[in-house]
Structures are given as C-alpha cells and as structure tokens.
Symmetry: C2
C-alpha cells in the first residue's frame, strides 16, 4: 500500500503547450499493455537531463548523454517499458540508435534530436522490431492531454501512476508545469529504473535549463533512496517549450518562482517513488542541519537512510536511538564530535551530548515512530549547510518482493 499517496484528479493535470504525447502497445513484455510513450516538443524547446552515475549505464543513457552534450535540438523522447536495454553491450547501442532513428524519420527530425529511454528487464536484447512497429501508432495518437496515460504507460512494477501538475500566473500569462515519474528509486535494478519527465511552457535558454535541472535533481530525484542500489537507467529530464511566452532569466523574480515550482513538482514526483516503494510502510524524511558542507550532510543522511538496522527499527516503530547514533558515527566524518550533536525524532530532542537527552522519555520517541510519516533531524553544529533525504523503512515485504522477483 503506497503511503499517503495522492493521485490527482484528471482536471488537476494541465497539458503543457508545445508538448504532444503518443502512447502505443508494442507487446514487449505483456500483450496489450501500453509500453511505448513518445513525447514530441514544439520547435525551439530546450531540454536538459541528469542521469545515473552507475558505470554500467544502459545503452539509451549513453546515447542521451552524448546527444545532450552535442547540443542537438532535442524534439522527441522515446520511452519503452519491459526491457531496460542494459548490460547489452554494443548491440544495445545499435538497437537504441535504430529505434530512435525510426521515430526521427517518422517525425522528420535528425536522428540525434530524439532521446531514448528504456526500463524493464536487463541483460536481454531490446525487441527492436516490436518497438519500430509500434512507433507510427504512438505518433498517430499524438495529443496534448495524454499525461495521465503517459504516467500509466511508463509504469513497470509501480502500483500507482506518479503525476504532478501546477499552473502559475506570471505577468498575466499562465505557465504550466506538468511531470510524471516511475520506479521505486534504486530498488529495482532489474525491472529497473527511476524515470522522471517534466515539461513546462516557460522559455528557458539551454545553458540556464541545464544548470536548473542539476540543481532541481539535487533537491528531488538525487535525494531519494530505498536501498542504496543505483540503477543502470535512472534518468531525469526537463523540457521547456517556451509556448507560454514567459521568459525565465537568472536573477529575476520569475526565475525564483519557476525554479521553486519546478523543484516542488520534481520533489513531489520523487517522493511519490518512495511512497510507492516495495514493501514500504513509512515515509521518512532525514534532515541534517548545520553541517560544514553538503558532502558531510549527505554522508550522515545517507548513513541513516541506508542502515538496514535503522530501517528495520522504523518498520517496527521502535525508537532505537542506538542504531541511529551508530549510523551517524560511521558516516565517515573523521573529525565528528559526537559529544555536541543533537538528534530529533519529529519535534522530540532524543539525544544530545553523546547520549540520550536527560528529559527524553521513550514513550515520546515511540509516539513519533508510530506515525506513517517520520522526520529524523540531526544537528551537527559545524556549519550552515542543510541537506534533506527521503527514504522508507525495510519490511518483510521488501525481502519477499525482491527474493521472489524473478521466480
């Protein structure tokens, strides 16, 4: 059961001017399931992306990176589920090139104007013939209000579609931001992959969009973790069509507003992945405050987020301070002074001066741990940087799902 999961109503999802979406069924894994999604952007759209750091990155990821680096004017995205085209070597590259070339030809684009994305089983060759056949069908069904269907179409083992949308009025013009995501973070490197796609009809110049996309990823998709396993296919894309007539330039109020709204949407889509993570019963926010720098804040946050002992304690609603303190202690900050930091569960100060806080009562921690949404806050008193990471607990179902996955 997803945790506090909000599926918006259809009328709450706004189409983005300049974005057409087409869906089709190629029968890659399951006959009849929609498994091909095509995004088609109007001319002058800018596109930026952030991708997995896994050295075994999938063929489509390699092509995306290369095409974005070459400053090709990206006009379309081709997404398939059912097969990740990962661990497929040189043939995988050829297959991704071949399928995206078919879409390029169909839309009268150059081949390098299409970005390919794949998610599904790895180590299996991409069924290119099936995909090539389905592309014309997807293109034939291009429409602006297909976001909901796209959210369903990119699902693999997701139990709910992940979609978010917002409209802003800027200088009497309406700017729309809509996005979809899929995956359970790095939890499913077989049926693999976190994918996130956001489009806006604001105009954002290419260099600025690239900068914004990286910053936004670092507040959203790069701050979620289920089990620390980084997939081979993780991709996050923002496309800006410019069709609203609103121009975003750095240092303006419009920039601040759009950046904040894009970050909100990205964070919501990223959090939805955690809320639907395999076996998850708790949504956990870990905030590390007053760190010297982002790196050490994230080390502490991820040490807590990845500790199987902490995660099983969350599952058991057990305010097991020892496990959290031990995780902070081994996070890898060589000069950490454990005598000065503070640890909060929710609003309760549970540990200070290297041990249990004098006034802390276990029932207070217990009350926080019983909630479905739990915030862990560590104050390091070393500097001014704050970082936040989102994760979930570790349940019997996590083991069941991942042990049974292929059997």
């Amino acid at each position: 059961m997803p945790i506090n999961f909000h599926i918006p109503k259809h009328h709450e999802i706004y189409p983005v001017k300049g974005v057409k979406i087409g869906i089709a069924s190629a029968g890659i894994k399951t006959e009849g399931k929609k498994d091909i999604t095509v995004f088609y952007f109007s001319e002058h759209t800018t596109v930026a992306g952030v991708f997995t750091t896994n050295r075994f990155c999938a063929a489509p990821v390699q092509i995306c990176k290369q095409r974005l680096a070459s400053h090709a004017a990206i006009r379309a995205l081709l997404i398939n589920t059912g097969n990740a085209n990962a661990g497929t070597g040189e043939q995988g590259i050829q297959d991704a090139l071949a399928t995206s070339a078919v879409l390029a030809n169909t839309l009268h684009l150059n081949e390098n104007q299409v970005l390919p994305f794949s998610t599904g089983v790895i180590l299996e060759p991409l069924p290119t013939d099936k995909i090539k056949k389905a592309i014309p069908d997807a293109v034939m069904h291009f429409a602006e209000n297909e976001w909901f269907n796209a959210a369903y179409s990119i699902m693999t083992t997701d139990t709910v579609p992940k979609i978010a949308s917002r409209q802003l009025i800027i200088d009497d013009k309406t700017v729309t931001i809509t996005g979809i995501s899929k995956g359970a973070g790095m939890i499913r490197p077989n049926m693999a992959t976190m994918l996130g796609f956001i489009a806006t009809d604001a105009h954002i110049a290419q260099p600025l969009l690239e900068k914004m996309t990286t910053a936004i990823a670092n507040q959203s998709f790069n701050r979620i973790t289920v089990d620390g396993d980084t997939s081979t296919n993780d991709s996050f894309i923002i496309a800006a069509t410019g069709q609203s007539g609103v121009n975003v330039e750095e240092g303006t109020k419009t920039f601040d507003v759009i950046q904040a709204a894009l970050t909100d949407i990205a964070r919501e889509l990223a959090q939805k992945i955690i809320r639907d993570a395999e076996g998850a019963t708790k949504f956990i926010t870990i905030t590390v405050e007053q760190a010297k720098n982002s790196d050490e804040a994230l080390k502490v946050a991820y040490a807590i987020a990845h500790s199987p002992l902490v995660k099983t304690a969350f599952f058991a609603s057990d305010p097991n301070l020892g496990r959290i303190l031990a995780a902070i202690g081994y996070a890898g900050i060589a000069d950490l002074d454990t005598q000065t930091l503070s640890l909060y569960l929710g609003d309760v100060l549970v540990a200070s001066n290297g041990g249990r806080h004098p006034t802390y009562q276990e029932e207070q921690g217990q009350a926080v741990m019983k909630e479905e949404e739990i915030t862990v806050r560590v104050v390091l008193y070393r500097g001014e940087v704050t970082e936040t990471v989102y994760t979930c607990d570790f349940s019997y179902d996590y083991v069941r799902i991942n042990a049974d996955y292929r059997t």
Copy 2:
C-alpha cells in the same frame, strides 16, 4: 541455524601458556548467566589491538586505545556482556575506569595495565557495582583451560560459541594459538559488537605485534560484513605471552608460519561470526581480483556485499546477474571499464564484455546459487591486487530479528 558451523571438541582447544581465564556471574542482564570474563597474562606479554572506526565509540574502546597508545604493559582484560557502556558520555568513561581499577587492584597491577571491553545494550549506564562484586569471583576461578567457558561467557545473541585453536611445532618447541570471538559482525549495534581475542605463547615484540595485528585484522575481522553497520564497540586483541620460548622476528620462516597461523585462526573466528549471523542462510565469499589497489577492490567487494538486492537474490538462490553487475557499476570507481571485467559465480563465467557471457546458461548459475557456500569472483583486469570479503544473505529472519529486537 548457523551455516556449516564447526564447534571443536574440548580436546581440540589447547590452553595457551601464560594465559589464565576467570569467569563469573554479575547478573548484569540475566541472573545466573556468566557475564564477566577476565584474561590474565604472564609478565612480559605483549598485547596489540584494532578497534571500531565508529566516531560514537564506546567508553571502553576509548580507554583501550589510550592505554595501548601509552605503551602500558597490559596484563589483563576485563570483558562484560549485557551492557555496552556506549553512548554513556563522561560517566561511561568513569565507570570503565572504576571497574578496571578494581581488577587492577585485585591483581596488584597498575590501573592502566587492564583493558576493558563491554558488549550489550547501549545508552544504559554500566552497572558498576555488580561488576565490581563479581571480579574477585572471576579471579578466584582463574584456570588455563577455561577457553571454552570464555567463548560461552562473551556470547550475547550468538547462538553458538566461537572458538578456534591450533598448535605448531617450531624448532622442536610447541607454539599454541587459541582464540574466541562473538557477535554477528556489525549487525547488532544494540546487543552490539564484534569481539575477538587471540592469545599465543610465542614471543612477539610489541612493535611487531602491532604491525601483525593490523595486517591480520585486514584479512579477517575487517573483511566481514553483514549489513554494513559498524558497531560502537568492535575490538580485536592479540596477546603474545612468550612462554613457549619461540621468538618471532620479521623476515624469518618462523614469522611467516606464525603470521599465517594467526591469520588462519582470526579468519576462522571472523567467518564464524558470519556463519552465525542473524537470519543468514548462505555464507558468501566475494573476491575481487586484478584491481589497481586494495581500496578499489574493497569498494567493489563491499558494494556487492552490502546491496540488499544482491543479498535478497542470494536468499532466493536467484542467479540475478543484473543486480551484481549494477552493484559493481555503482561501487565508485570513476574510470571502471564495464566492457572488460569478468564475473564468476563459483567456477562459472557468467558475465564478460559488459553483459551475459555467450556460453552461460542460467541453470549453471542456478546450481551455484543453491549451495550454502557461494563464491562470487570479479576480475577487473586493472592491476594485481586481490581482496576478499565474507558476508551472508538477507532473509525474512533478518527483518524479523531486527524489527523484534527490543519489543
């Protein structure tokens, strides 16, 4: 059920000349359970140790480090179970000083000639009165053949005692090495702690023993992992009494033989911890070969060993290559060429050139994964360094045990 766990017969455990052991019951956690163990070494014994790197290291660990660094002539170890004296701040230090002072007085030693060790619940004050009262009883029962009872006495949630012993004939003299360990690695930071104690009656000068202890730890206790959680109390000690009359000097054949035998005993005691790990059903050896350096070999080995996805696949006997390859990919080697490495399950070459090996059949991998002892071998083709790490799988029981632990 421990995996292929060998408990030696009593006559297979040899006392070490110059080592007396006394056991007593202080009733720290359970009335009547033996929870105090005292080691008493003959004069001129050398002692070296390796300790947890956790910044939240327990009070006794801090005192051990300080006393060893001060070159005090260590003559006794005081070990208690039931309370880890961790997360106890300044009071914890005072408590460890006070209890070890009682042992020092009883044995007519200086206070700094005693090393204290604690394992058990954390964040609770050490019950010093109980321990002080039990010390005379332990000393009164000093005997040379108490190793087996010591192995039982230091157990916390261990299901079996961990003990190993060996005798070597060197220049017609008999050298004995005997050791005990406890814990399930870093898996129990509450009932905490990996402890390992080895004694030999060889003579090893202090500086050489320190060097050897570090090297041996890096082939044994520092190469086991259950869940990556580093405890606050982990300690490993080697004591050399010299009573056999055999002198160990670097660069000699005797050195090689003793170093190898000590390493064997330490590795056996370390592996026993994994074989008895919570919920473990498989014993897994991960070897990374032809790495540029030890650091990158260990990064790859631990990425595989810590991946919950890989560990659940082992539990399911599922030869899920994708998960292992993905873990290698995110291990953090920036210039890793995934196209050239090889992956073996047992003797079966399963992946090469960035994907599944052409001749590999899933049944071959399946056959390996069904065994209780599994070897994963990664060949990086980057250099000449090999590292080996020991771990276990991730089962329903792991979650059950760690979620139920305090409730």
